[in-house]
Symmetry: C2
Subunit: 344 residues, 2 copies
């Protein structure tokens, strides 16, 4: 199977995506075709053999083949005509904006390119932390208490200190701050409001246990091991960044079988059917044996490959189970009947 | 001001969009540039002078200029090089799939084309009737009771007869059926499941009053008159279809001032900030002086022009108040520091 990896784009997590993409080379046995989207949102075909991070930071990629998106695929201009970039399935590996906010899902669906990644609705729901809360509650998964605050709002904060302030939409801990008391508040809000005009406030629980589970659905559910990520207070951007280049397996969390089962049950409720076609990672808190959703990563760093035994097999089988949309039949029934009525 | 109107696309409401687009010619004083997206999702530049419905139903549009979407706009191939289609702002007038599900919003944002229409999140929330309910409740607008039913679900229906069955995602009453008793159920479900693998069930209220209000936000809110649409049981597709070609003003509903105010308050809660940049129409039920949201039409038929006095001025001023996204600065900070650490 020939797998295209789409990465980069206009995102605060652009660099993470570059590192994530290069990391996949070590764990995918299938042939890889690299399609880079630069900060200006132009597409390039990057030679797999010579890919490295410097190619992008130096701007050298601009000498690579430029691509245009059209019905059915990515096309390179040739002396005479054009050539379609050949692959069986594409992995959307753009983290954050463009990749996880629904834009690239939309482009790929509009131009009929088969892809692994969240669909538009899954993107939209997981990218916006308020929508994630509403959705999780609706499907029966608990979430921590929260409050949404707009930039110009005069509302009092009703969550007790200490709490976490998060930009409503970004991922990878960008712009997130812990506020222990009132004097730390305005700085944390300033930082978060740099990234979004709305923030989400949640209680901060010292020492709460966090567990990550990745998975997808093919003919049945495939789950990763459950990992307990290392953390200091909470994972900041630098630490998460290093995480994205991981290709080694991590150690499984020591967890009661019942709790493990509850975590997998919550994952299934969240995944099916909203995330069909994607390999996602859900991060949970466990407090007094109750499972709370922290966040849904619909395009986890390096596709969370380090949580699986045989990552290549999972990707190639997921490619066989991509969701299909109902067909819209071409029809001009009403226009024809109006014309008939008018005698035209 | 030069206004592009984008219409058609791969949607069950493709024809409605064609009629909607042609109707705008009568109410916009600004110069119009017509961009048609056919069922196969190819773009064409349609001459404004000669546009008519038959051009599309007959396939004659295929002789018009073919367009490609690239950074900054739509481009036509010329003998030497290419030419960008010039306009100041684009109206997304694609109803239903592609237009209202976030796909075209995504394309327009990705390729940096200024447009009037719902953004990705607004599309996603209003296109999915469950998400609309969750969102309305969150912003403090009441909704009717509901139940979501998946195609393979064995759940009992807990809504009492009579109820309405709606495909979870379409608009324009397609696939909707009223179920008065058990023997009508399986047919209604069959019809709805043809359009979506999930349906929403809501109590059907005989004789309930429905009121429509359209509007947008520029330097303040601009509201249309409140209309009480004519209906027999509920508006079916044929009736709504006729509605889309309307360019004449309708009669204002006779409503208590307090109720009018409540309807406008609900509109503001729903609109701001999720629908900034769009002219939307919200349809409400009024039961015992309580306002319930029925649905949000983020791209109403003919842009609900018939509800406004001076439609052209509204569109041209809305074009000055399109929402902006925060800028992502190009940065290779982490990659540079990794390279420095490696001595490369």
């Amino acid at each position: 199977m020939k797998i295209a990896v789409l990465f980069g784009a206009q995102s605060f997590e652009h660099e993470i995506s570059v590192v994530s993409a290069i990391a996949l080379k070590k764990v995918l046995k299938s042939e890889i075709v690299y399609i880079f989207c630069d900060y200006e949102r132009n597409f390039y075909l990057i030679p797999t053999d010579t890919i490295n991070a410097k190619r992008f930071s130096s701007g050298a990629y601009k000498k690579d083949k430029s691509l245009v998106l059209k019905q059915g695929g990515f096309f390179a201009q040739k002396m005479f005509g054009e050539e379609k970039v050949a692959f069986d399935v594409l992995i959307n590996l753009v983290h954050g904006r463009d990749g996880e906010d629904g834009k690239l899902s939309s482009l790929l669906e509009f131009f009929a390119i088969p892809y692994i990644g969240p669909r538009i609705e899954g993107s939209c729901i997981s990218y916006n932390k308020l929508f994630t809360k509403l959705y999780a509650k609706e499907v029966g998964v608990d979430v921590l208490d929260y409050q949404v605050l707009h930039k110009e709002s005069k509302d009092d904060i009703r969550i007790a200190y200490p709490f976490i302030v998060k930009p409503l939409r970004l991922g990878s801990s960008i712009g997130i701050g812990i506020v222990k008391d009132e004097k730390e508040l305005s700085y944390a809000l300033d930082v978060a409001f740099e990234f979004d005009d709305t923030v989400l406030i949640e209680p901060f629980m010292q020492g709460v246990k966090e567990y990550n589970l990745a998975g997808c659905k093919t003919d049945g559910f495939i789950f990763s091991i459950i990992e307990e990520p290392q953390k200091e207070e909470f994972l900041d951007f630098d630490k998460k960044y290093l995480d994205f280049s991981r290709t080694k397996r991590v150690t499984e969390a020591h967890l009661d079988v019942k709790i493990q089962e509850k975590i997998r049950e919550a994952f299934v409720k969240l995944y099916d059917p909203l995330f069909l076609g994607a390999l996602i990672r859900c991060d949970f808190f466990v407090i007094d044996e109750t499972i709370y959703l922290n966040e849904i990563n619909p395009i986890p760093g390096s596709m969370a490959n380090y949580l699986f035994d045989d990552f290549d097999t999972i990707i190639t089988s997921l490619a066989q189970y991509l969701p299909r949309t109902t067909t819209v039949m071409k029809a001009y029934h009403y226009i024809h009947s109006i014309q008939a009525a008018k005698g035209k």
